[in-house]
């Protein structure tokens, strides 16, 4: 088909500024390197308030380390070390989104340092390790073989119309009480109940 011809050709320089993504095979990595030791200082300064000194997560903020072997447990802890299949994802995510309140504020070198340190916190590299654009793709993550392509549809229901279940063995479980925001069921409390702050207040008053 004839092209519309709208828009302008992107220059290499324009692309370079926005092309921040990294792939497992290392494609996209900027040249550079970073050490666990320099990462420690940066992490403690920029990340630890939320994610904890050891990646254990402060309060309700995400846990970054630990949880190995918990994936089959009742309450799995999914972390960089226990769950993530590729180290590239860590570099990519820190560079695109962290620290939370100041995304895109780190230099590439800082990202290398901090990535190295978070890998260290997860016992994936030792404290001497220097992460580079050349060795990142070679790092083997503990859960690298933990993923497979979605096989759905998996559950096979049929359109049964009669005697589809046995009423005698049926078990009916009610709702866990006290966990839903119900502020808006209270007369006059509608608007505040919709927000985090308003809800918390209402929950306290219960």
């Amino acid at each position: 088909a004839e092209k519309f011809g709208f828009g302008k050709t992107a220059t290499a320089e324009e692309i370079a500024g926005w092309d921040i993504d990294i792939r497992p095979d290392g494609l996209g990595l900027p040249p550079g390197e970073g050490s666990v030791s320099e990462g420690e200082a940066l992490y403690e300064q920029l990340c630890a308030t939320c994610h904890g000194l050891f990646g254990e997560g402060e309060g309700r903020w995400p846990v970054l380390a630990g949880g190995k072997g918990t994936l089959t447990e009742e309450r799995p802890t999914k972390t960089v070390g226990s769950y993530w299949p590729y180290a590239s994802t860590l570099f990519d995510y820190i560079r695109r989104a962290m620290p939370f309140t100041a995304p895109r504020s780190l230099t590439d070198e800082q990202v290398y340092h901090i990535t190295a340190y978070v890998l260290y916190l997860n016992e994936i590299v030792d404290d001497e390790f220097v992460l580079t654009h050349e060795n990142l793709a070679q790092i083997e993550m503990p859960n690298k073989d933990g993923f497979f392509v979605d096989p759905r549809p998996d559950a096979q229901n049929t359109r049964c119309m009669k005697d589809c279940a046995d009423p005698k063995t049926m078990k009916i479980e009610g709702t866990l009480k006290g966990i839903t925001p119900v502020g808006h069921f209270i007369e006059g409390a509608d608007a505040p109940a919709a927000s985090h702050e308003g809800q918390e207040e209402l929950e306290r008053e219960k």
């Binding site: 519309f4 709208f6 933990g146 925001p181 608007a191």
Partner: protein, 400 residues
Amino acid sequence: GGVAGTVFASKAAASSNLPPMEPTWGKMLGHGVVEYPYGQPSKYESHVVRRTVPWLTAESISSISMSPLHDLKGIITPNGLVFERYHAGVPQIDPEEHRLMIHGLVERPIIFTMEDLMRFPSVSEIKFIECPANGGMEWKGAQMEALQFTHGMLSCCEWTGVPLRVLLDEVGIKPEGKWILAEGADGAHMSRSIPLEKALDDTLVVYAQNGEMLRPEQGYPLRLLNPGWEGNTSIKWLRRLEVGDKPWYHREETSKYTDLMPDGRARKFSFVQETNSVITNPCPENPIKNSGLIEIEGLAWSGRGRIKQVDISFDGGVSWVPANLKGLVLSKSLTRFSLVTKWNGQPWLLQSRAIDETGYVQPTLKQLREARGGNSIYHKNSIHTWKVANNGEVTNVQIS
């Protein structure tokens, strides 16, 4: 049986606005035209709002809110009530300075302004968007006491934009191109890998919803829309599309949006929002107030195509009767179903079960748990149960 509508009756009895009296609003003038150049709902509808579940997330900036499905009619979600999901809050983007860059394995990388994009022939389609975590709090047990929280991460609008395939034609994909990375302009720079097959099928690059430009919460001025796929893939504040030969395995397709199975392994690229349905009347927010005829009403939807049939059970799934589909029945759109019946105070275990055009039957919770355990978080599309008590109260229960 039936609960008397007492608040209602008492307020009305005291009023001089009822026949034979002339109501106060019939004896005066109201405000004129363009008093509100852009209109607002009645002050009496201030309870119809999005709501969040505060304990789900640490704060509201990377969080979610739900649409009040119990108060919605038809299939269109009004823009003010479309559910929200942000990872770094809502950016305030100047549309004149917003750009979409398409590059990677292409013949000619292009940067588009909004004006450029709006010059392309547009298409408008009614499609639902659903967060794959919709209902996710219920995998291990009934937790939410209201429809807004069990199913409200779901909305449906008429979206207008350009088919992604048209833009890909414009840049010219190289033969090696197989995946596309989509990236947002917000602080999260949310990124997802989309298989080229989908991109060439029905993916849209969208700038308007329900007739007007996108709302800030919905990606103003530009977003991706992958019809029928998990909402997270429909990148908002879209700024970049890169064509590559392999997926990127970014944080939102590894750490998140993968489904953990009981054996410790996890499903990746679980894109489709499978066939689902829920009864919206009655529901916890809409208890039955009167005996007599009642319209059992609800919503069905499928990321796999059109809804073909919805059945309803009053006894927790032992026996089923067909409901009617009403209004428009569109592919990957909300679809309304309805069944008029009688209620005289008998207890009900109300369920709906949707079937799509491919013959897929919405599964039971038991079937889903058997297939996936209780830790997969996403894609919980099982048959939902409302317990109707003999006083008309409705509660969320689970049957196993």
